[in-house]
């Protein structure tokens, strides 16, 4: 298995309990949807996987590593195994599309010689190879999100995590984005996507985990 939550509770310092006693397993190579109303705890769950937050109680194990015991200096190396896609893209607007996508490679000390090839491959995958010199601000919302996805996969992570990646996109663009995730999953990447859009779950026929008020109420194989 790749991700294992055992009786995980997350309480924020101000007292709000975002996750309560959540347990589940995601196998290597799976594609799983995480659903629930806004405020149900989807983002918190992803924040625990990406180690933006620590669990208050319980155990989170990713790729065999117990995240509660991960040593501080190894944290960056842990995050490099995960591609993250955000609802608001989180692109750097002073950098070109190419540089945005190259950032994870630069950060991890990738050899400059192979960098261009890898970045172009990732941009090609999301269909934006011809926009590599553009600034993100000149792109549409859907294109910006595809740049975000190219950045998430350029490092060839074993796990792809996305938090409401199509939150601001219309149906047609959403389909394109989810098809991209589906394609990465087909090529062996484990994918965990938080979305409230149940349409994609039906369309792609993948397992979904449903949160309600911080509890996991359903672990359906097909919704």
């Amino acid at each position: 298995m790749l991700i294992e939550f055992s009786n995980v509770t997350k309480r924020y310092p101000e007292g709000h309990e975002a996750l309560r006693d959540v347990s589940f397993v995601i196998d290597k190579g799976e594609m799983v949807f995480l659903t629930g109303h806004s405020g149900a705890g989807k983002s918190t769950l992803l924040r625990l996987v990406t180690l933006i937050e620590y669990a208050t109680r319980g155990q989170v194990i990713v790729n065999g590593q117990n995240l509660g015991r991960l040593k501080r200096p190894t944290l960056p190396y842990y995050r490099r195994q995960i591609g993250m896609v955000f609802q608001d893209h989180k692109l750097l607007h002073n950098l070109s599309v190419f540089d945005n996508v190259a950032l994870p490679l630069i950060v991890s000390g990738f050899h400059p010689r192979d960098l261009r090839r890898r970045v172009h491959a990732a941009l090609d995958k999301v269909g934006l190879l011809n926009r590599d010199r553009a600034k993100p601000i000149t792109l549409s919302g859907g294109e910006q999100q595809r740049v975000g996805i190219a950045r998430a996969v350029v490092n060839r992570p074993s796990l792809l995590v996305a938090d409401e990646p199509t939150g601001n996109l219309d149906a047609g663009l959403s389909d394109e984005i989810f098809d991209l995730f589906h394609d990465f999953n087909y090529h062996g990447v484990t994918v965990l996507v938080a979305t409230h859009d149940l349409r994609h779950i039906k369309r792609l026929g993948k397992r979904s985990l449903t949160l309600e008020d911080g509890r996991m109420i359903q672990q359906a194989n097909t919704a």
């Binding site: 937050e53 200096p73 995050r79 989180k90 750097l92 994870p104 950060v107």
Partner: protein
């Protein structure tokens, strides 16, 4: 990580940081100027002290004690005294000025030749000039001991050190030396804070970038690097500016200084900082900048830890 990647990264950061500094010329020039002025003050004072030291050393070299003998002492008697004093351990060398020689010199220097010619007798006493050893000349206590000792000799009526003010100056220099250190420490702290503040502003401006770099697996040292370069470069340029200020200042006052020293019969050129102190000044600027950036970034990076608001 290979050497090539490492070097490429550092070069990229260096060039990038230079670019950042040139993109905000106003704030860069402002902070570099503040650093430059703050470093120029202790650096310039240090250079001034070095020059005063050199200047007084010229005097100490010729420091002498004048022994005015009683008028009834004959030249033969005085010669004997001169020979016995030449054996004295604290005296390097001793000269005698006879009343006739003194009168000649007096006539020459005073411009009262005619008046002096009209004197029947030469009222001037024999004078012995005792040049103390350098080690004695440099120590105010040893010098006073020697002056007192010589003053107590039977034929000596008055023993007088010509350069009393040098003794006072040497003591004052001790004090000034300490003061320069205190000022250097205080202003160094000021430079530290100024650079820390510009780095803090840069961090705030690049918060989003830092957050993203941390999320995609950037290490602390990766995040830190551009800021360290920024601090280092600001300190370095500040140090160079300080050096420039000191050199300009010295060239501005060098002419009056040399004409002043020529009045004391000394040929004395004003030296700005030597090579080694110059290097120390510039590199301490760079070091302060680096250190300040290091501390500031360290404090701010804690906000990007798991469970912290900024991440």
């Amino acid at each position: 990580m290979t050497m090539i990647v490492w070097l490429t990264r550092h070069l990229q950061t260096l060039v990038g940081t230079l670019g950042d500094l040139s993109r905000n010329p106003f704030s860069s020039i402002l902070s570099i100027s503040v650093i430059g002025i703050a470093l120029a003050l202790p650096g310039g004072m240090f250079a001034a002290l070095e020059n005063i030291n050199k200047f007084t050393a010229e005097f100490e070299h010729g420091a002498k004690i004048s022994l005015f003998l009683s008028p009834e002492v004959s030249i033969i008697h005085a010669k004997k005294l001169q020979q016995s004093l030449a054996q004295h351990g604290d005296i390097k060398h001793i000269e005698m000025i006879t009343p006739d020689q003194a009168m000649e010199e007096f006539k020459l220097r005073s411009g009262l030749k005619d008046a002096l010619n009209s004197l029947a007798d030469n009222p001037l006493p024999v004078v012995l000039l005792a040049y103390p050893e350098d080690s004695v000349a440099r120590s105010p206590e040893k010098l006073s001991d020697l002056i007192n000792e010589l003053g107590k000799l039977e034929p000596v009526e008055l023993s007088q050190f010509d350069l009393e003010w040098i003794k006072r100056l040497t003591a004052f220099m001790e004090l000034a030396n300490r003061a320069v250190w205190v000022i250097a420490i205080i202003l160094g702290l000021g430079v530290f804070l100024v650079i820390g503040n510009t780095i803090r502003l840069a961090i705030v401006n690049r918060q989003e970038e830092i957050r993203i770099i941390k999320l995609i697996g950037g290490t602390d040292s990766f995040v830190r690097r551009p800021f360290l370069y920024s601090g280092l470069l600001q300190g370095l340029f500040g140090g160079l500016l300080a050096l420039l200020v000191i050199f300009l200042l010295f060239s501005f006052i060098s002419r009056p200084a040399s004409s002043l020293s020529s009045m004391y019969g000394i040929s004395f050129g004003l030296d700005p900082l030597q090579l080694l102190p110059s290097l120390i000044l510039v590199s301490s600027g760079a070091l302060l900048g680096w250190l300040s950036a290091r501390v500031t970034v360290g404090v701010y990076l804690r906000q990007f830890e798991p469970g912290k608001s900024q991440l």
